[in-house]
């Protein structure tokens, strides 16, 4: 087979259907990555227009351009869209597009999940934009503090759009994170051991784990606030035992890691692009990996620094002040590693490098003001003023947007296959950078002069007028710059001349393929010998195209890909990926039905959509795997690999593991909330405590033991080629008992009586939900077994993971519910 025939054959197998309809059913990472990028860019334009409205309002004193009812929606939506609908999806899109290529593989771990995530993002985002156009957008600020955002402060539908729309969008963040983790861990080119990972992959591994642990508290908070608003469950109402501070803890438990979740992908781009621009390799690769990892964890110990002014005792604040300064150390390590890299090489001044220099200037200033606001006393003055507004725009624009623009211009030849010909980009660079500093530098000073954020007009004689006029002018200059970038990219993508492969002479594998990239990414999977495969062997792209790597001979229309052992990168299993399907978009639509039903209080929609989603999920899972035990298949070079789905640690097992990590953080946050209310909320202890009785605890203990033992019995039976029925039945009975135990808690409490009762409802509901999910999975397994699919243990292990989780959650959750009475 020659290179051209191989290309045609692989294209036929991996590409989406032609035309725009193909985009609705595509599951290919090239399509989905670009769809994410386009959608994120659209939301950026919308939020940018809102920013211009804000600057128009504040350009002159006593402006009557917008009243507070409009202005409050505008700034709330500006922040919300930029954070949730622009920043996160943008780097997700870039990662979905680039990561498989850099890792030397053909797609992400769960292609249909990528597509499902994208549609959740698109639909959830549309919900928010609809509210904006209809004039009923959220107006309590992007961090939505109750009671202002609850029924007391906002009786209308506005906050519901935020709570439900954002939660809907978060599905995409969680699913992308699961994909990224599993892809980096097991989907790589043969031989790519952990020390040979492209640095961007390390960064994204850290970011993805952070998303899995950082987003659940927000999802929990949104759920609780929505339950309070919809059903009067008083989690944040102090009279009924709630506490509005609980929201702040949950929100910032997400919100601070979020800042680093946004910064680290950008740092990954800098670490990738900067060495290429300096014609050298990254200085201190291991140090940078360690810095990124410690930054990832340390950033979870900072959340209270958004709450210095809430009256928490000084010692509590001091912990967080110390942690907030400590987090600057790994940041400093990276900054100096990058500067050292430039010293090491021969820097060339291309447009991506210009953006990186703008990043340095801007981000270092933002970091320094960040250390300032980490000082408790200074924050008492600067908190909620324009000093903080200026600070975080320096960090987010300087630390995210500028590196992303460096990345955009760096990978533009890859996206388009063209050489940049029209040079609008340089003009845009100066407009944006000068406009940005013109907007925000002096706003620091306005903040110190007492200008609060979120005020809808400035008074004459306040001393802030000139600063704000200049800021507005700077803002419009910056907006023109961004418009030029869009035009520049559009024009260059459409009409510029064809460029050569690997124009920057980079070392990473995304440049080892033709541009724009073919749908299958790599015609064969090369053996990787170092961190810089294209420096080792400049002819590698040719050899890949000639099919000299693994999986070079496409087989009977299957999307073939292989997994590797985590540490060594030794190939271990073969995976057949699913092909184009309408399932993800349909599933996302029906999931949307659930959120819309909640939003417009059409509660009859909820059970319908839950049933439909369940049915689709069963269909989705049923189509995977095969009823024949295929055994090892040839992958080239005389190597034969067994199919991964039958193994103990299948990709599905890994995906479940990390999904359960996020799930565990969600549950942990819920238990934290329970403990928090117990210690801090003023109206505790509650008037009546739940009596455990005898039935509930017995059901829980017995059920957990049965479920735990039953699924293991089934597991053993499958491994010995025996019938798994008894084990499956026992497990199912155990899960039913766990569900019944949860129901006893629900039956003995009134959901809206006190925050205590409301919390127990959510805990018991959570247990009930997981017992049901694991039960459904067990039924599924039984059906699979009777249809002859269960010759190997792969699927059993996935269900075993979920069953164990349900049992542990039941013991912990129901135990926490019964504990207070047992102690008293």
């Amino acid at each position: 087979m020659n290179a051209l025939r191989r290309h045609r054959e692989l294209e036929r197998i991996w590409s989406s259907r032609p035309g725009w309809r193909g985009k609705l059913t595509t599951v290919n990472n090239n399509d989905i990555g670009l769809m994410f990028l386009f959608t994120a860019a659209t939301f950026f334009v919308i939020a940018g227009i809102l920013a211009m409205l804000i600057r128009a309002q504040l350009a002159t004193p006593r402006s009557v351009f917008m009243g507070p009812e409009i202005y409050n929606q505008v700034f709330t939506m500006h922040g919300t869209i930029m954070m949730f609908l622009f920043a996160i999806p943008l780097f997700e899109g870039l990662t979905i597009y680039l990561l498989p290529k850099m890792l030397g593989t053909r797609d992400l771990a769960f292609p249909r999940l990528s597509a499902f995530g994208f549609w959740c993002y698109a639909f959830g985002g549309s919900l928010l934009i609809f509210s904006l156009l209809a004039g009923i957008a959220p107006e309590s600020g992007w961090f939505m503090y109750p009671p202002l955002s609850s029924t007391l402060g906002s009786p209308g539908i506005n906050p519901d759009f935020w709570l439900l729309g954002i939660t809907f969008v978060e599905i995409s963040a969680i699913s992308a994170a699961v994909e990224i983790v599993v892809t980096v861990l097991i989907y790589r080119a043969p031989g790519m051991s952990l020390d040979k990972l492209p640095i961007f992959a390390w960064y994204m591994l850290v970011v993805a784990v952070m998303i899995l642990t950082g987003f659940p508290p927000l999802i929990l908070g949104s759920l609780l606030l929505e339950l309070e608003r919809a059903f009067g469950m008083p989690f944040f109402q102090v009279e009924a035992g709630g506490d509005s501070l609980l929201w702040q803890h949950l929100f910032w438990l997400f919100g601070h890691p979020e800042v680093y979740i946004i910064f680290l992908p950008a740092a990954g781009v800098v670490s990738t692009v900067l060495p290429v621009m300096a014609r050298t390799t990254l200085l201190g690769y291991g140090w940078v990996v360690a810095a990124a990892a410690s930054l990832g964890v340390l950033s979870f110990g900072l959340w209270v620094h958004h709450m210095y002014a809430t009256g928490i005792p000084h010692m509590g604040l001091a912990f967080f002040s110390a942690a907030s300064t400590l987090v600057a150390v790994p940041t400093g390590v990276q900054i100096f590693a990058w500067i050292g890299t430039i010293w090491k090489g021969r820097p060339e001044m291309h447009l991506p490098m210009l953006w990186i220099l703008a990043f340095f200037a801007t981000f270092v200033m933002g970091g320094l003001t960040g250390v300032m606001v980490a000082m408790v006393p200074f924050d008492w003055q600067s908190h909620d003023t324009y000093f903080v507004v200026a600070h975080f725009h320096y960090v987010l624009v300087g630390g995210f947007v500028f590196p992303m623009l460096a990345g955009l211009y760096y990978w533009l030849p890859h996206f388009t296959g063209r050489k940049r010909y029209f040079r609008l980009g340089e003009t845009a660079f100066w407009l944006i950078v000068l406009g940005f500093h013109g907007t925000f530098l002096l706003l620091h000073w306005a903040g110190l002069l007492g200008m609060r954020r979120r005020i809808d007009s400035i008074e004459p004689g306040s001393g802030w007028e000139l600063i704000n006029l200049l800021a507005s002018i700077g803002g419009f200059v910056m907006a023109i710059g961004f418009a030029l970038v869009l035009i520049d990219v559009g024009v260059n993508a459409a009409v510029a001349v064809r460029g050569r492969r690997n124009p920057w002479r980079a070392a990473t594998l995304e440049w080892a393929m033709p541009a724009p990239s073919p749908s299958y990414n790599l015609a064969s999977l090369p053996k990787v010998l170092s961190r810089y495969p294209l420096y080792d062997d400049p002819d590698l792209p040719l050899r890949i195209a000639r099919g000299e790597g693994l999986l070079g001979n496409p087989r009977s229309g299957l999307r073939e890909i292989l997994t590797v052992e985590i540490a060594s990168g030794r190939p271990n299993y073969l995976v057949i990926f699913p092909t184009n399907s309408a399932l993800p978009i349909v599933m996302a639509l029906i999931t949307g039905g659930f959120f819309v039903g909640m939003l417009i209080k059409a509660y009859w929609l909820l059970p319908l959509s839950v049933l439909a989603v369940t049915a689709l999920a069963v269909w989705w899972a049923w189509s995977l795997g095969s009823s024949e035990d295929e055994g090892p298949q040839p992958v080239g070079h005389g190597l034969a690999l067994p199919p991964a789905s039958e193994m103990e640690r299948s990709p599905g097992w890994w995906g479940s593991l990390f999904l359960l990590l996020a799930n565990g953080v969600f549950f942990g946050s819920l238990l934290f909330g329970y403990a928090f209310l117990w210690t801090v909320a003023p109206n505790w202890p509650p008037p009546t405590l739940l009596e455990p009785g005898l039935a509930g605890p017995l059901l829980a203990l017995g059920g957990a033991a049965l479920a735990f033992g039953g699924i293991r019995l089934a597991d053993r039976a499958v491994r010995r080629d025996a019938a798994p029925w008894l084990g499956l039945l026992l497990s199912l009975a155990g899960l039913a008992a766990l569900a019944a135990a949860a129901v006893t808690v629900l039956a003995r409490t009134t959901h809206n009586a006190h925050a205590y009762d409301a919390t127990l409802w959510v805990v018991a509901g959570y247990v009930l939900f997981h017992a049901t999910v694991a039960g459904l999975m067990t039924v599924f397994l039984t059906l699979r077994a009777s249809a002859g699919y269960l010759s190997r243990v792969g699927e059993v292990r996935v269900v075993r993971l979920w069953t164990d989780y349900a049992a542990i959650a039941a013991l912990l959750g129901l135990g926490a519910a019964w504990l207070p009475v047992a102690l008293s």
Partner: protein
């Protein structure tokens, strides 16, 4: 899998200890602590014990990561996990230092 644990456990333990001491501090300053008949001195001692335990745990990780029984086969993982264990120890010492320097409940 075990390599991932080597890399992630010490810092995760820092986070757990940090959150636990912060929670303990909240408890010490709450009405529930007074209701239980305990005073601030008892509270500060409890926090200092927790801090010392967290530091001891980090030292154990550090020793374990150097011992032949737990060391990774990959030189790179060995080095990164050691660096991260050191940073977790520094983080434990640094971020919980206010336990002995700051007034407890003002």
């Amino acid at each position: 899998m075990t390599d991932i644990l080597r890399i992630s456990v010490p810092l995760t333990a820092w986070l757990a200890a940090f959150s636990a001491v912060y929670g303990l501090q909240g408890l010490v300053c709450s009405q529930r602590w007074a209701d239980a008949g305990l005073d601030l001195t008892a509270g500060r001692i409890a926090m200092m014990v927790a801090w010392a335990a967290a530091v001891a745990l980090q030292l154990v990780f550090l020793l374990a990561l150097r011992s032949p029984r737990f060391v990774s086969r990959s030189a790179f993982v060995r080095w990164v996990s050691l660096m991260l264990a050191i940073s977790a120890l520094v983080a434990t010492l640094w971020t919980l230092l206010p336990v002995v320097t700051t007034s407890a409940c003002l």
